[in-house]
Symmetry: C2
Subunit: 410 residues, 2 copies
């Protein structure tokens, strides 16, 4: 893969309908990139409820600290996102950058500073030149529109090779509601937290505590089941904004029967976005789905799946189109979870290659070879110990990853 | 790096003196490689005591199962090692291969089958053609010699680019004893177990329980502090053989004052071998030493060091000669260990680049750039939380790793 080329696994940007109560604008603040947009302002209608899930990295960026604090009220009026500088490990200067940016946006929108949510990704450890953001925001505020979703998805990209968005509708009573999300992410993508940046917007009217419960569960089943390189970012942020402009019957708690259709739409958007991030994994040439069954629990199945998904030897074998199931066995064994070598079964592309602890002597290699040459690889592991199952996703490990990450700062 | 080229971090093979009670022979059994040796037979004098440490991978190879069982007696008379086929995940055929090989060696040496130790590395999941080993062993037995250490070190290599051996002497009372080890390993090298194959021989007379305690401790401080690619092999084996031919005063337990000089020599050999494996990490261009201090415990410092050492983003930055300390911060934060971003300090090549949670504004980049261009990279992280410290070693992640592992089986 040439640096700069679009991932062969890219998805086209879907048509993104307006969400009542959300207006967007993008601009070029010149933070790091030249000749492209790098700043997004989203204005949210009064009364917008918000939920958030953040990185579990112990060295979070200043914008993550800011959002955690802002989230306490459950209310949001604006979102400011910049690309090119993560504002991570920047000490007092980083805190000042978040405060100054939020203050500038709050003055334009006419809201409290703590109703402004912030996200930054890019280089770690360089002070964010926040005056560039502050100077650019009035121009963005002047051109806020409801139909600029594609521009928004592009403005937040860093090493991404394609813009990422997903949208769904659902019915709450008689009312159709919309859920639309945008995301960015390509490297420093790892399990066990909300990964990278994703912003999901809905016109549904759902209170913040319910949103928070739904988002936490949705992230656990989507972003937290993906990995590109096992490296947990310091900036990971998923925010869900509900403007409440859809005129459906009131939802006050999680047991309401109309929560379910909303949650399904939300989960579908989160799942789409999570897989787009893996499809744009740095250097990725193949999307890999790993189904683990027969584990002693779902948590155990997930850890085994992630051990396979994070194994450099499995990932380089896939890059080389080699159905090297022996490395899958190695990765199952290193996971530290209950596993019995002599009951283990491994399939690739639906063909069982190893069963009960040994190679299947007469398996047909032809369909396996053809499957390995494709863009989407399916691995299935059955431990035959219990009923725990999990599916995780990753991509292959190629020269493109080394190219991108050996020269990122220079 | 071109596949087949010798690692730029290679060490020359030292002069390896004879160890009384050990005779060696190598041969070409044609298991996988052509035009090179791939089989080692070591004969050990009657009375040889043995200790072993093995992989913690839950899918160990049949030779690992065999050695664990053979180790119970604490006695050894022979070692048979083949390269090119790991005899892992081979079911009943794998068990038969170990039994047949041990039986053949035992008949030649004149000992019990369970006094024969076995190790195999190479491809996983292919049945070991053990008849080739059985047929070759008599030829090796005929040419056993005490001075063929260099040949032995070469015969056990797989993707290794240089042969690995280390030797030390120590004094037990008035008697000089020798400790010599050989090792192989280059990929599928990961922490938290005895990594790869290493065989250490001494003429000291030390009973098996004492040897076992010393070996476990020595491995914890050497091999278990290294990683190439985070992938724990299914074949990892470290064996320590003590022929007892040195005429020193008897050592019966671990508290004996003469255990200490022996342990120091043993640990030095293990440390040398472990670093040679990292120096020969697949595709390695740079050896990386990571010193963690100020952690809440030694175990915590080790886990933080390993999180840095296993981070693909840190390793690719080093390959690109980029002193990207922000990625080191990310790796510290993702380790899941106690860490306070605002106290963290990071140095590279002795220059402190980040202190107390922010970049050092006026640090001198010139020596850092020069250091990154070198072959040996030193990273120091101080958490400023406690007195826990640990040192771990790894190598960079380069195109060479992808080349080697994308095409290993084909």
């Amino acid at each position: 893969m040439t640096a700069g080329a679009v991932s062969p696994l890219a998805c086209p940007l879907p048509v993104l309908p307006e969400i009542e109560g959300v207006r967007l604008a993008v601009g070029s603040a010149g933070i790091r990139y030249q000749g492209r947009t790098d700043l997004l302002l989203a204005e949210l209608a009064p009364g917008t409820q918000v939920a958030g899930v953040f990185t579990r990295n112990r060295c979070p960026g200043a914008p993550v600290d800011w959002c955690r604090s802002a989230l306490k009220s459950g209310k949001a009026r604006a979102l400011v996102v910049n690309a090119g500088n993560a504002n991570v490990f920047t000490g007092r200067a980083g805190v000042e950058a978040t405060t100054a940016t939020a203050r500038a946006a709050a003055a334009l929108i006419g809201c409290r500073e703590k109703s402004v949510f912030l996200a930054s990704t890019g280089v770690i450890g360089q002070v964010l030149p926040h005056q560039k953001l502050v100077d650019a925001l009035p121009g963005l505020h002047d051109k806020l529109r409801a139909d600029t979703w594609a521009d928004a998805a592009r403005a937040i990209m860093t090493t991404d090779t394609f813009a990422k968005a997903a949208t769904r509708t659902a019915r709450i009573g008689e009312t159709e509601i919309r859920v639309t999300g945008i995301a960015k992410g390509s490297g420093m993508i790892a399990p066990d937290m909300a990964t990278m940046l994703a912003f999901v917007f809905t016109d549904a009217a759902i209170p913040a505590p319910v949103l928070q419960a739904l988002l936490a569960r949705g992230v656990a089943g989507s972003f937290n089941r993906t990995t590109v390189d096992s490296d947990t970012s310091t900036s990971d942020t998923v925010l869900l904004f509900a403007t409440g402009r859809a005129r459906h019957k009131k939802i006050t708690d999680r047991s309401d029967k109309w929560v379910k259709p909303f949650a399904e739409a939300l989960n579908a958007v989160l799942q789409d976005l999570a897989l787009m991030v893996v499809r744009d994994g740095e250097g990725a040439q193949k999307l890999v789905r790993i189904d683990v069954s027969g584990a002693t629990s779902r948590a155990s199945a997930t850890r085994i799946g992630m051990a396979i998904a994070n194994s450099p030897l499995v990932k380089t074998a896939i890059a080389g189109e080699d159905a090297n199931w022996g490395r899958i066995v190695m990765a199952v064994g290193k996971a530290g979870e209950p596993a019995d070598r002599d009951r283990l079964c491994v399939s690739i592309g639906g063909v069982t290659m190893a069963r009960d602890g040994a190679v299947v002597p007469d398996y047909d290699e032809t369909p396996v070879v053809a499957h390995m040459r494709g863009r989407e690889i399916e691995i299935a592991v059955d431990l035959q110990l219990g009923s725990g199952r999990a599916t995780v996703w990753t991509c292959d490990l190629t020269h493109g990853y080394i190219d991108i990450n050996g020269a990122y700062r220079s």
